[in-house]
């Protein structure tokens, strides 16, 4: 008795291709001598194998395998051009499509001077150290110059100031001389103060005239103007505004105290810089306060700050103004970050 199912009617023309993908593996068959007496049984078996072979040859369309092929290090030869995203490509196709010769036109479209390789910035052998190339893109420290600031006496609503001639040292060690800059600056707006009251590091201020201060605005309280307590002198930022005459701000590190007189000055901050290839200074400003964002705005690529001049209603604020050779000052009234 055979273990093979009853044979179907065989075609006199031989095996045909299956209309669908075989989903189950062929079972092992064992024909008996009786099965061999019937050609129909043998024909059926051979027909099944024939259909499978035709399927594997692709006669019924794409062959789907149920596992992976291990080519054991051998080649897959004669692969056609890919049509679908998951198709494999031949070595020739890859070379013709992705090789150096193929992508060169795209790179050269950006110009012949496009960097053709990579540069490791942390590689000490490839790092730019003293190249003059850096002079054009880097801003050297504002302290790398020999200038000082000479303030004049205020009068008539203006004050003269001179940034002395000097030398500026660039990144590659070269030195650029520049001539003096003599400027006449307008004294900024100021409001007379009625009183200042400091409690637990917060100062409540009252002006005798309506002021235009708003929250987060910088201002200064300069010496003079009848101010009775010099511990209130400095540059600050408005925290809150109650009305046109009352506002408050922080002043940490000072004991509780009160003062009368003095004035609130809306700073005029001016930056003097030297540009690439120049031997004269140029001025930017006025800014309302000396902030890093304003310094960045005043020193774009190729432009380096040489001096910062802060003006209040009393004239040049020598505490917060400096050039490269300005001597350092000490004291709690000096915000270090503001020094050039």
């Amino acid at each position: 008795m055979s273990t093979y199912p009853s044979p179907p009617a065989s075609s006199p023309r031989g095996p045909s291709t299956p209309s669908s993908t075989p989903t189950t593996p062929l079972r092992q068959i064992t024909l008996t001598a009786d099965d061999m007496k019937s050609p129909a049984m043998l024909n059926s078996v051979l027909n099944d194998y024939g259909q499978l072979i035709n399927y594997l040859l692709g006669h019924s369309g794409p062959v789907k395998i149920v596992s992976s092929y291990d080519f054991n290090g051998n080649q897959v030869k004669n692969v056609g051009a890919p049509r679908d995203p998951a198709d494999v490509v031949s070595a020739l196709f890859a070379s013709q499509t992705y090789g150096p010769a193929a992508i060169r036109p795209s790179l050269e479209a950006l110009g012949k001077t496009v960097l053709q390789t990579v540069r490791r910035l942390n590689d000490p052998h490839q790092r730019e150290n003293y190249s003059s190339f850096l002079n054009g893109i880097l801003n050297t420290a504002p302290t790398a110059n020999t200038s000082t600031i000479i303030p004049g006496s205020p009068g008539g609503g203006t004050v003269p100031v001179t940034i002395t001639a000097g030398l500026h040292q660039r990144v590659d060690g070269s030195v650029v001389p520049y001539s003096a800059f003599n400027d006449t600056l307008t004294l900024p707006t100021s409001f007379a103060l009625t009183s200042l009251t400091r409690t637990s590091g917060v100062v409540a201020a009252v002006t005798s005239v309506a002021n235009s201060l708003v929250a987060n605005q910088s201002f200064s309280i300069p010496l003079g103007g009848g101010l009775t307590n010099f511990s209130f002198v400095g540059t600050f930022v408005v925290v809150s505004v109650t009305d046109a005459f009352h506002f408050s701000y922080q002043q940490l590190g000072q004991p509780d105290a009160t003062a009368t007189g003095g004035s609130v000055s809306l700073g005029g901050v001016y930056y003097y810089s030297i540009g690439r290839g120049q031997n004269v200074l140029s001025r930017t400003g006025p800014f309302t306060s000396d902030l890093w964002t304003n310094r960045v705005q005043a020193s774009t690529d190729g432009e380096t700050l040489v001096a910062t001049v802060v003006v209040n209603s009393q004239g040049v604020d020598v505490v917060n103004s400096a050039a490269g050779a300005t001597p350092p000052q000490t004291g709690t009234a000096v915000p270090v970050i503001r020094r050039i």
Binding site: G156, T184, V280
Partner: protein
């Protein structure tokens, strides 16, 4: 024939945003031998508001002050340079 001085305005510019005027100037000294000597150039600046406050908006009034300032500097530099030149070849004793 005495020495003559002129304020030479080498370049004048204005900042398009702030209206800050700048001039680059130097002193031209014409000696009795008609030779012209050029002084050290400096930049002078003034914004529109300061020009109005200090000089009534009249730029020539401002340039008069510039000229006076530059001439004083030029004469000071010239005098110092002449004294230094006269010391050429001299030795100055250093006492420790």
């Amino acid at each position: 024939m005495s020495v003559k001085y002129h304020l030479s305005i080498d370049n004048a510019s204005i900042d398009g945003t702030t209206g800050h005027h700048t001039v680059q100037v130097h002193i031209e000294e014409t000696g009795e031998d008609d030779q012209v000597r050029h002084g050290i150039a400096e930049t002078y600046g003034i914004d529109s508001t300061a020009l109005h406050l200090a000089y009534g908006g009249i730029e020539t009034e401002w340039l008069k002050v510039v000229a006076t300032d530059m001439l004083a500097k030029h004469k000071r530099r010239t005098d110092i340079q002449q004294r230094l030149l006269s010391m050429a070849g001299q030795k100055i004793e250093i006492s420790l």
